[in-house]
Symmetry: D2
Subunit: 297 residues, 4 copies
Amino acid sequence: MQIGFIGLGSMGAAIATNLVKSGHDVHVFNRSPARAEPLRKAGATVAASPAQAAHSADVVFTMVADDAALASVTFGEAGIAAGLKPGALHISMSTIGVATAQDLTARHREAGFGFVSATVFGRPDAAAARKLFIMAAGADEHLKIAVPLLEQLGQSVGIVGADPSQANLVKLIGNFMLSVIIETLGEACGVAGKAGIDPMHLVELLTSTSFNAPPYKIYGALIASQRFQPAGFSLPLGQKDNRLMLAAADALGVPLPLASLVHDRFLAVRSRGIGAEHDWSAVALCALAEAGMEKQV
Amino acid sequence: MQIGFIGLGSMGAAIATNLVKSGHDVHVFNRSPARAEPLRKAGATVAASPAQAAHSADVVFTMVADDAALASVTFGEAGIAAGLKPGALHISMSTIGVATAQDLTARHREAGFGFVSATVFGRPDAAAARKLFIMAAGADEHLKIAVPLLEQLGQSVGIVGADPSQANLVKLIGNFMLSVIIETLGEACGVAGKAGIDPMHLVELLTSTSFNAPPYKIYGALIASQRFQPAGFSLPLGQKDNRLMLAAADALGVPLPLASLVHDRFLAVRSRGIGAEHDWSAVALCALAEAGMEKQV
Amino acid sequence: MQIGFIGLGSMGAAIATNLVKSGHDVHVFNRSPARAEPLRKAGATVAASPAQAAHSADVVFTMVADDAALASVTFGEAGIAAGLKPGALHISMSTIGVATAQDLTARHREAGFGFVSATVFGRPDAAAARKLFIMAAGADEHLKIAVPLLEQLGQSVGIVGADPSQANLVKLIGNFMLSVIIETLGEACGVAGKAGIDPMHLVELLTSTSFNAPPYKIYGALIASQRFQPAGFSLPLGQKDNRLMLAAADALGVPLPLASLVHDRFLAVRSRGIGAEHDWSAVALCALAEAGMEKQV
Amino acid sequence: MQIGFIGLGSMGAAIATNLVKSGHDVHVFNRSPARAEPLRKAGATVAASPAQAAHSADVVFTMVADDAALASVTFGEAGIAAGLKPGALHISMSTIGVATAQDLTARHREAGFGFVSATVFGRPDAAAARKLFIMAAGADEHLKIAVPLLEQLGQSVGIVGADPSQANLVKLIGNFMLSVIIETLGEACGVAGKAGIDPMHLVELLTSTSFNAPPYKIYGALIASQRFQPAGFSLPLGQKDNRLMLAAADALGVPLPLASLVHDRFLAVRSRGIGAEHDWSAVALCALAEAGMEKQV
């Protein structure tokens, strides 16, 4: 199948590489061309623009940083909408806002393109190992094309619904739930530490019970040791997703007090100079500091 | 070993039965004597008072409803302190407050008794199947006696520290973390439902990713279906533990905004007439109602 | 002085009428022309567009519903920017967002127009009686023209600073503080009522002490009696201002937990079907309901 | 009238002095006797115990630090209950918990004493100037005696209801409302400061509008200047009252999210080493720090 792929960050590059390995004819584009080189070596064709990558493709994937980048590579000058053939399918894998996804859906429908949102749970190493959990949403006729491709990229593909933006919402909900786990662990480690229980020991004890899910283990270790560098998922990206979740909930008329609390934590931790080089689990520093348990460095 | 066992609720009865099955000479007491009958049939001796159950025991277990019940069976008339022989060990398995545990520790030390807090994670069926996760804390000399016994009662025994109250704190932290999961699921199901995603489908999707821990599955199903009866763990008990957590954190000087939020949820849901017959996951009704997604019944 | 005036809602009409009465040559415009008739009778000239109202004016006032309306009457087709003469001054009195005000400032500077934000505290009757409290911000050279005019419109004119958006921020802070008073009164009336103290009596008692400011008296009476109709300031407008406050604080990097709480209250109360016909003090219904003290109607 | 007066802190001493000046025969007691000397000079009789001060008194006032102190001077050894003659009246002016007031009411009724709670709004200088706002609650027959006396002590006496604890609740609600004003001002000054508006200027602007009540002026000046010493009302006392408010609301089944937030602020600010020498308005430091606007000292 001829495939266009726009966005070769660490996630995008891993996914595009897997598409090449699966035997597809992949035309890639990345804003900074250096990141396309490894793909060229792996067998992809490097395009000069999103439009060129989309040209004569059956399916174009996008995996870009945020809503603005997606709008730009889609509808900007030499964007994929300018190159895509009628009836072709756009699969958006980025973590973007619900309103942006709804807007894309409407504009693509009008232009005669298919559209599927396929959001991913997992980090770059999981992407490389085809271990992603993928959430897909779109019209049946589009899912029929998208799902077999997506199954080559992850360990499971969940069908969320017929409205592409629903897959974006589920992704935002997932990150919302992770952010609450981070805050929970910050508070738990703060109170335990104040009582003379080593936070790392607390995390080991609790994750040996029914709190044995990866987020508790991974973030528990980071928070208990207060080691927030290097960033696995950077704080500003986490903050962006928190804002997207609140915006989606606001539009739906749903209060999310937990997301509001985490929103305030993001702002407070950034006022302390914590930023892009830190993992988003650094929001737990607020709770640790309020407990008087912040490590002095 | 001669063992006293006070408190034959569903958890206590399952644990006491296992002690009998393991070959110990178990003397049981329960306030309402009817609940002692199955234990008698299983081979236990039924005592007329906590003091009698404790008399000539090497170890006395207590598994009672709350701090007041523990104070009563321990220091009340014909309490275990009145029957226990010097040097014997009291193992408290109840979910009680940190201050109560500290008080017990001091009074037992003064009276020449040993004291271990051994709190449990798991429901009655896990207790019956010796699948509990147990958190134990106390002086080394007392843990040396307690741990081998506790290992007969669960799948793991974590040693929290030398201060018995630390095991109580870890239990409260565990329930605090569960309560936050409940609130999280309430908010997540509310926003998903409002966007046209069946909450049960959301839970299935998310628990097939890294949110695959039992609390997300169990509470997710209850909350998505809004089925809060029968109570697995009743709402007033959950509310009691939330209050104990806040009291412990207050004494330690640690703010827990998440616990404060859940505290307010407990009060709000009770104002709606939800109570003792409901599972504590019914606190999620607040978030569901605020989303306009509460089921009309 | 020749003055343009755009926006003849209840506030705008009262202010424009006072400008006419003060002897200015006032050219008014309102989207629905019927509302301009009373002004014509009072002596104003009715213009066919914002541009026409601005044409040859020394100063153009705008008092419109929201950021979008202001953008439209300013930069839209036949907007004031299309009619204003170089060096003329735009005085914006609307409650708009800080970012919108910053954008207007930059565009007007570029186009050679002066710009002052002059936000108002007070209701239409206060506007009619020239009893408004006005907050003005802008460059000195523009304030020199604006302040004498504004002094004809209210009982005091506070100079906030040189950046027009600062007057918008102060207005949003004022409404934020009012919204917190509303929530406070909801919680206070809920807990008092539950204890058998008539909420109206509570309000009378407290506002006879140092809580003797108008907001406590006015909103206290509405909330204690749970009479939220007719709307003095409608709930959706209050919600809009809450969102503008949170957006401004987010851009500045400042968490406002109280505004986040009120944000969630707005969403929750709207899920209950409370809306445009209700006064924004109806957000207190959330606290009253959580106390089990909501009046059944 | 013969009057006993227990508790000669700065409030109690001012009130007792006014009772002497009004011509009553006042028998005073204070734990540390040095504080009784000025009263002796003013014409009071100094008693050796609460019981002695109560002996043959028609009315005994208490104005002590907290619930424990009140219990001690009332029911402790040589407490007023041991000295009071049948039918005499106890007027409690302390800020105590609702449950303690209910307990006192029941025990006094049983013992044949009258009981009125008469809580006060105002600082020592207001007490000295007979400018207190007083809230009284109790049975009519007791209020008939208490109110004429109280009217000699303040500028107004509000009758809350027939249950003495209601006056205590109103006092706690008043302090709750003040604590919310403090948090509001902290957030407002933080966001204004970050936008380049001098917080003191913000306070002046806003208190010249309808936020012209004393709490906004007094706390606004302290918070804008971040001057929290000396303490007008010390932080631990404010924290105590916040806890009493939350306990009363919890017992009534009423969530108070604002009080929960302030509760967490108290704990957080104390973790920073702020304590007894600071005014309770120092809780605003949390919001100021989260805005990145805390003054470095």
